[in-house]
């Protein structure tokens, strides 16, 4: 257990250093690990320093350029794609005009059926003729998935679309629920993202995701669309521009470093140094920025500024945030009155037959509504 914490803290620190944080910053974030962390991060830093400079690399590149050019020159004549497309188009035309029996029979087939391959070939042929039909066929994949679920058949299928909803264990796309495993990578997904999912339908009528490829992210998440700059701008530290990829951090805490923002996107305004006494805090499930602001006697603006959060102010469970102080304990939620009852239950009044429902007689002191009552609340 302890080592898994170190694994995560180490990985988190490496990510932060890639975004421009110093070793000192990382040690500050994880004071309890600082002693173990420091020599490790210094060792890693050493590897970075050991790299050949950009100059050396560029000299090598320029020296080797003639060989590369020569290979380019040996390119076979570019296969004009048109004749090939012509063939496919002819085939498509034949299929449409004569309605080949096989193609028609294939229309209703599902992934896993013998004729399914033919169905997809026919579709591709039609798309090459009429590109607008592509969207219709993308939708078909969802229909097929729904059928497979109803039939409780096992098959592998692929779906492309936007994530409508997201929960810990599943996501919803076009009304279809697809179960996902609870891996750390899952945290990178957000509603609105366009993804390509390869999933398995099961005999239980479930869809289980196997791979998820992110195709596009919604603009409201402040994230640069292009993550690689192709015009290497001179940087003082000599970092090779094309290799920087601030995505994973940028999705949730877009700390603006000069290099990371080389492409576009408005730089986030944030505190240059952390005010004294602020502590590092791990966001718990269900917490929001305004909730934490209230529980620390601060404002969402102040927290957003200090943590370089963008307008979206999204925070997720497990994320590290700086707060002015340890947040006061959470007020009991109205949905679950039991904890309040337990805290307030006088020694005599426990009713053995309470079926878990509310027992108003016992809630004299601990009614959930009295947030500020016993716990130091706001």
């Amino acid at each position: 257990m302890i080592e898994s914490d170190l694994l995560n803290v180490l990985s988190d620190s490496i990510d932060r250093m890639a975004d421009g944080a110093t070793i000192g910053d990382c040690l500050q974030r994880h004071p309890q690990f600082a002693a173990a962390l420091e020599p490790l991060l210094e060792t890693g830093q050493l590897v970075r320093r050991a790299q050949p400079s950009t100059e050396e690399a560029e000299q090598a590149r320029d020296r080797q350029m003639p060989r590369f050019e020569q290979l380019l020159a040996e390119a076979p004549p570019v296969r004009r794609p048109l004749p090939l497309v012509g063939l496919v188009q002819w085939a498509a035309l034949l299929v449409l005009v004569f309605g080949l029996g096989g193609a028609l029979a294939a229309e209703q087939s599902l992934p896993g059926d013998t004729l399914y391959g033919l169905k997809r070939i026919t579709e591709n042929a039609r798309v090459s003729l009429l590109p607008d039909t592509a969207e219709m066929f993308t939708q078909r994949r969802f229909d097929e998935a729904r059928q497979l679920v109803n039939l409780r058949r096992e098959a592998e299928l692929a779906l492309t679309g936007e994530i409508d909803e997201l929960s810990d264990m599943a996501l919803v796309m076009q009304g279809l629920t697809i179960r996902t495993a609870d891996t750390p990578e899952r945290a990178a997904l957000t509603p609105g993202m366009r993804v390509e999912i390869v999933a398995q339908s099961t005999v239980l009528g479930e869809l289980r995701a196997q791979t998820i490829r992110i195709l596009d992210v919604p603009e409201r998440l402040e994230q640069p669309a292009a993550l690689i700059t192709f015009t290497p701008s001179p940087t003082a530290s000599g970092t090779p521009e094309p290799t920087r990829q601030p995505t994973r951090a940028a999705a949730f805490t877009p700390e603006a470093t000069a290099e990371a923002r080389a492409v576009e996107a408005t730089p986030a305004v944030c505190a240059a140094t952390l005010p004294d006494g602020w502590i590092a805090y791990t966001v718990q499930s269900g917490e929001t920025l305004s909730d934490l602001a209230a529980r620390t006697g601060s404002s969402t603006q102040a927290l957003a500024d200090a943590n370089c959060l963008a307008d979206s102010r999204r925070i997720i469970a497990g994320q590290m945030l700086y707060l002015p102080r340890q947040p006061a304990s959470r007020p009991t939620l109205t949905a679950t009155p039991q904890p309040a009852r337990l805290a307030a239950t006088p020694t005599t009044a426990t009713r053995p037959d309470s079926r878990g429902g509310e027992q108003p007689a016992q809630n004299r002191r601990g009614t959930p509504e009295s947030e500020g009552g016993e716990r130091g609340g706001r």
């Binding site: 180490l10 990985s11 490790l40 590897v47 590149r61 380019l72 891996t183 196997q210 195709l215």
Partner: protein, 191 residues
């Protein structure tokens, strides 16, 4: 089990598409912009510059050849380049565990300090660091070069190395610990 694939980078994909269509300018652009990171990766794994140069070029020759064969990658160009770089290194050196002439025996062990502290490490010079790095296993070297040298994400590193993310997390810790131990055993030449 989920494998989360990286977001496809539109500019990269566009370049790849142009290259596949036969646009030499696109291939040239790829070469010019990606040679540096590929070279840096390979250089740290080799003993000398000339070999590193040749091997780095090999990576791009392979790209050109796959384009000519119509089999170029359509996504994740950078990941592809690093994967090819790894293979090019294996092909060149055979499956030797370490691609280096310097062997641990050449190091004069220091009497104390198997676990050098931060200050000590900071003072190690580049050449020593490189030689120490090459004492590690291939996996350990690669993870350190990709994570610290190229500053790639956990996910991309995992993709390139064909490992699970959790395996990479463990590997990076072990690699750092191993490198630190090697440094502790070496006769360090300081800057």
């Amino acid at each position: 089990m989920i494998v989360l694939v990286l977001p496809d980078i539109p500019a990269e994909d566009a370049l790849l598409a142009r290259a596949q269509r036969g646009e030499q300018a696109a291939l040239r652009e790829i070469y010019v912009h990606y040679y540096t990171p590929v070279y840096q990766f390979i250089r740290l794994r080799c003993d000398d510059r000339d070999t590193a140069e040749d091997l780095a070029s090999e990576v791009f020759f392979k790209l050109v050849r796959t384009v000519h064969q119509g089999k170029a990658p359509r996504h994740s160009l950078r990941g592809w380049l690093f994967r090819v770089a790894r293979h090019v290194l294996y092909d060149h050196y055979g499956h030797a565990r370490r691609f280096t002439e310097t062997v641990l025996d050449d190091w004069i062990p220091m009497p104390a300090d198997d676990e050098p502290d931060a200050q000590f490490i900071r003072a190690v010079n580049r050449e020593t660091a490189r030689q120490a790095l090459r004492q590690l296993t291939t996996d350990q070297q690669e993870v350190l070069i990709l994570r610290f040298g190229q500053m790639l994400s956990l996910q991309e590193t995992a993709d390139i190395m064909g490992k699970q993310v959790n395996a990479v997390k463990q590997l990076q810790l072990r690699a750092l610990q191993a490198l630190r131990r090697v440094l502790g055993q070496a006769e360090i030449v300081h800057d």
